[in-house]
Subunit: 248 residues, 2 copies
Amino acid sequence: MGRVFCIANQKGGVGKTTVALNLADAIAKAGQEVLLVDLDPQCNATGGLGHRPLPRHPLVSDQPLADGLLECATPGLRLLPGSRSFFDIDQLATAGTTASQQLVSHLTNCGNANDYVILDCPPSLGHLTRAALAASHEVIMPIQCEYFAMEGLTQMIEVIRDVMRQPGRNLQFGGIVLTMYDPTLELTREVDEDVREFFGDIVFETVIPRDVSVPEAVSHGQSVLDYAPRSRATRAMIELCLEVMNHE
Amino acid sequence: MGRVFCIANQKGGVGKTTVALNLADAIAKAGQEVLLVDLDPQCNATGGLGHRPLPRHPLVSDQPLADGLLECATPGLRLLPGSRSFFDIDQLATAGTTASQQLVSHLTNCGNANDYVILDCPPSLGHLTRAALAASHEVIMPIQCEYFAMEGLTQMIEVIRDVMRQPGRNLQFGGIVLTMYDPTLELTREVDEDVREFFGDIVFETVIPRDVSVPEAVSHGQSVLDYAPRSRATRAMIELCLEVMNHE
Ligand SMILES: Nc1ncnc2c1ncn2[C@@H]1O[C@H](COP(=O)(O)OP(=O)(O)OP(=O)(O)O)[C@@H](O)[C@H]1O
Ligand SMILES: Nc1ncnc2c1ncn2[C@@H]1O[C@H](COP(=O)(O)OP(=O)(O)OP(=O)(O)O)[C@@H](O)[C@H]1O
Ligand SMILES: [Mg+2]
Ligand SMILES: [Mg+2]
C-alpha cells in the first residue's frame, strides 16, 4: 500500500504545484513508482509537465483510470492529468454525495498500485480539497514566508482536523514546507522563526529557495530537476524528497 | 452611480488583494469616496488593512450593510470586511439561487453610495467570483509575469464573456495589470511582450514592481502607500490609480 500525500493550502500561489510536481519527480528519480494526480481545474501540474488537460477528468468519466495515465520524462513517474471540467464537479458535488465518495475510492485505489501518490489541490477549502484530504495519509502544506501565509493556516488546520476526525480516515500532518525562501529579506527570517516556534517539528528542515529556474522550468514543460539540475531549487527539492522518504 | 470594479483571477497569489487594497487606498487619497469589499473567505483584504473578519458576512446576514462598514486610515476609504463564513455561501449558493442574486443586488446598491467600489475575489471561478463579476462594471485582472499566469487567462476570459452576455449586465474589461514585475528576469520581459502582443491596449502601461515593502505593509495592517510612501510599489500604485481614473 503506497503513501498518499495531499499538497494543500487554500492560500493561492504559495507553491503547491511546484512542490507536488518536483517532489513527485524527485521520488521517481529515487527509484519509486509515483503517481501525480492533478485535482486543480487550472491544470498547472499537467501543463508544468508539458501535457494538455483532458476534456473530462478520468476520475469522473467512467473509463478505467489506467487509460487516463500519462508517462512522463522520468521513468516511474506517471501523471493523472487534470481537466477544466473540474469546475462543474466543484459546482455539483456537495461533501456527502456520490461524486465525492467516488473520488475518494478512486484515489484510494491509486494508492494500491503505486509506492507514492501525490495530489495537487486547488487554492480553496471546497470539497475537491476535502475529498483529496479524505483520500490521503499525509498532508504537506507549502507556505510562503509572508504575513498572509500565516493568517490562513488556522482555517486550513481546522479543515484538516475535521477530516482526521472522520471515521475510517488515517490522515496525518506530513509537514509544512517554506517556499520561495529569500534569506536576504528580514520578513522571510521573521516568518521562518514564527512558524518553527509555533509548529515545531512538523516544519521540514529543507526550505525551497526563490529561484527563477522554477518558473523557467514550467515554461519548458519540465521539472526543475530536468531543466536546471545544478540549480539551488533542484538541490532543495532533492533534500525535501529525502526528508519525506525518511519520515515514515 | 459609482464605478464598480472586480479584481479577479482564478490563479492564486498573483496580487489580487494587493492591487484591490492599494488601488482603493490611492483612489481615496485622490479625494474619492471608495468602498473596498472583501469577498474572499481568506479575508486578506480585511487583515491587510488591520481589521478582523466578522463571524457572518454583512452581505448575507440580514443587517443593513451600513452597520458593517469600517472606517480606514485614509479618509474616504471604507471597508466591508470579509468573513470566513463565506465558506458556507460558496458551498450553498449555486449560480441561480436567491443567495447569489441577493449578493448581486447588495453589491449594486453599494455602487450607488460611492464613487468607486472595489471587490476583492478569491482564487476561483466559483459563484462568488461570478456574482462579483455580475455586479461589476469593469474587471481588472492582475497577472504575474510567469508561464502559469498566461495559461489560466483563457479560462477566466471565457467566464467573463459568459457574464458579459447575460441580459442586464454591463461588464467590460477594465484591464490587465502586470504584478511582481522584475525587469532583471528574462522570463518577466518575455511574458510582458507576449501579453502586450496578445491583449494590446487592455494591458495597463503601469506595472507593479516586486518590492518587499508590499508584504511588509501587510504585516503592519497598512496600505503600502501609508507604510512606505517613497517605495517603488507606492509610486506604481499611484500611477495605476491615475490610469484607472482617467480610463473612463
Ligand atoms: N521556489 C520558487 N522560486 C521562484 N518562483 C517560484 C517558486 N515556487 C513557485 N514559484 C512560482 O510562483 C508561482 C506560484 O507557484 P505555484 O503555481 O506552484 O503555486 P500554487 O500554490 O500551486 O498556486 P495556485 O494556488 O494557483 O494553485 C508560479 O508561477 C511559480 O512558477
Ligand atoms: N509587488 C509585490 N512585490 C512583492 N510581493 C508582493 C507583491 N504583490 C504581492 N506580493 C506578495 O505576494 C503574495 C500574494 O499576493 P496577494 O495575496 O495580493 O495575491 P492574491 O492574488 O490576492 O492571492 P489569493 O489568490 O490567495 O487571493 C502576498 O504575500 C503579497 O504580499
Ligand atoms: Mg497550483
Ligand atoms: Mg487575495
